[in-house]
Assembly symmetry: C2
Homo-oligomer: 334 residues x 2
Amino acid sequence: MTTYARAHTNIALIKYWGKANRKLMLPATSSISLTLNDFYTDTAVTFDPSLNDDRFMLNGEEQNPVAVSRFLDRVRHLGKISTYAQVTSLNHVPTAAGLASSASAFAALATAASRAAGLNLSPTELSRLARRGSGSATRSIFGGAVIWHRGHDDASSFAEPLAIQPSLPLRMLVVTVSAEKKAVSSRKGMANTVATSPYYDAWVASNESLIEPMITALAEDDLALIGKLTELSSMRMHAAIMAEEPPFTYFLPETLRAWQLVQEQRALGIPAFATMDAGPNVKILTTEPYVDILLTALRPVFGDRILSTRLGPDASIITKEQFDDTKSAIASQG
Amino acid sequence: MTTYARAHTNIALIKYWGKANRKLMLPATSSISLTLNDFYTDTAVTFDPSLNDDRFMLNGEEQNPVAVSRFLDRVRHLGKISTYAQVTSLNHVPTAAGLASSASAFAALATAASRAAGLNLSPTELSRLARRGSGSATRSIFGGAVIWHRGHDDASSFAEPLAIQPSLPLRMLVVTVSAEKKAVSSRKGMANTVATSPYYDAWVASNESLIEPMITALAEDDLALIGKLTELSSMRMHAAIMAEEPPFTYFLPETLRAWQLVQEQRALGIPAFATMDAGPNVKILTTEPYVDILLTALRPVFGDRILSTRLGPDASIITKEQFDDTKSAIASQG
């Protein structure tokens, strides 16, 4: 029997950068994210006794199954099974978006594989499981505004939706500066920051100090403060990275150009706030009434490399029909 | 009687960013610089009993004399005079270079005004005096490779040439990303970093730890290590700035483009190292044999906005003829 699940990508407003425990994937700081409606991964999992190894198909192409297999080992351990699985994933992220998909990918895999293995995990347990695949996947188990409590062991490090969700019509614009696979993976990048940046300890302390203010700002729909805290967390993460040995930045020239445009719009009174993850692309936080104004300002420089999305829902089990619809949607893009 | 002096700009390899004492202009860290031959300020000072106020001409145009006057007050105090002065300065820095000139300006003013006031200061005393006008002017009293000891009071904070000078044919390329006056002055920028960057203390500790290795690297002509330390100090300064509240960077998109080109050249085996001060322009440290190769690589992007210079000499008293030659040179540039 095949189990299907869908999980959405998320963008951290208060960032996660650096692990306190690499084996357990415990982060050095808590983080707060928004789950995005328009970018998601659908994953089908079939535990099949006739298989001699795990198999992994992504958007119709056979992939090296090592990372998926390692994750499935954990699911098999929890489910007390030893069967290999066929995993079939569809990334519904426009290739031009240059968005990393590991958050939605491992959240969907955790959701589908645990159910397929006969487990009936709580959302918290799912979040802990997804964490072992990719840190940010922890947060993609939930929709809306989500906090990942850093915790101090496997049991205490998990995400949950914020108790008071913002009622603002939040929107995220994704400006694709480069759709290329990034030169330094987040895993390696984090490790190098921890090992060589003299600013790492101060980054941890500063970022952690933004958590409580952000919870309050989101609960109070204080857009200016949400935006201010978002930019502080992002830029301090990139500053901690820039201070590495040797110095390094994920920023490309166009990253700065997009940041400049955001600042220019803000000087005109438009609420727009930039945040960059471990890559050159710029995500712009705003609210619905300002989306068109921002698109108009950005298009002369970035053309159609800008996507806009509202907040998305929880990861969930879906039907074969929904999965097939995604397959058709991706095929028609191609 | 008019006294004429010339002083050259300098570029810090180990940066100065942030004051420990604003009144005395004591820096938070020591710094190491190279004095540049091709960019300098000539300044003429005449203490004239017929004047009712200080007057300041720069490149033929009357200027607000406030900063010059404040500096002259200190000279008058040391010289026990009360006469006002006519100050006439010529900045021999191509306008396209986008180079700040406060280092050469206050070093030249200190040299000319102290002599004109009847003082006969030692180079160390001159360096301490220049410091009161602009921190980096402290270093422009000396040629070659210079260290500014941060010190702990007015007497102990001064520059001097490194005891063992590099014998490498060092060259600095100045890539002008923008010739506009910078939006945030160094003085304000430093103060904001000290006040709001959570990375400031770590910046001070990290930068100070690069001083002794740089002295050794320069003495041993270890170009790779000189370059590595140069980039670490620069990028960590800019990272400390980026972490400010609100986040800020002096970098423009083309700043990153120039840094990328330097990294590309280095990957090809060319010794080239980037350093940026409190502005968007990129200075590239290399040695004489590689200047043409680098110019060839940079020109497709930056055209003729690239200047190259070797290391320059001490600040010194010059003749009226030398001063007049500079005036002609500037006039002919148009």
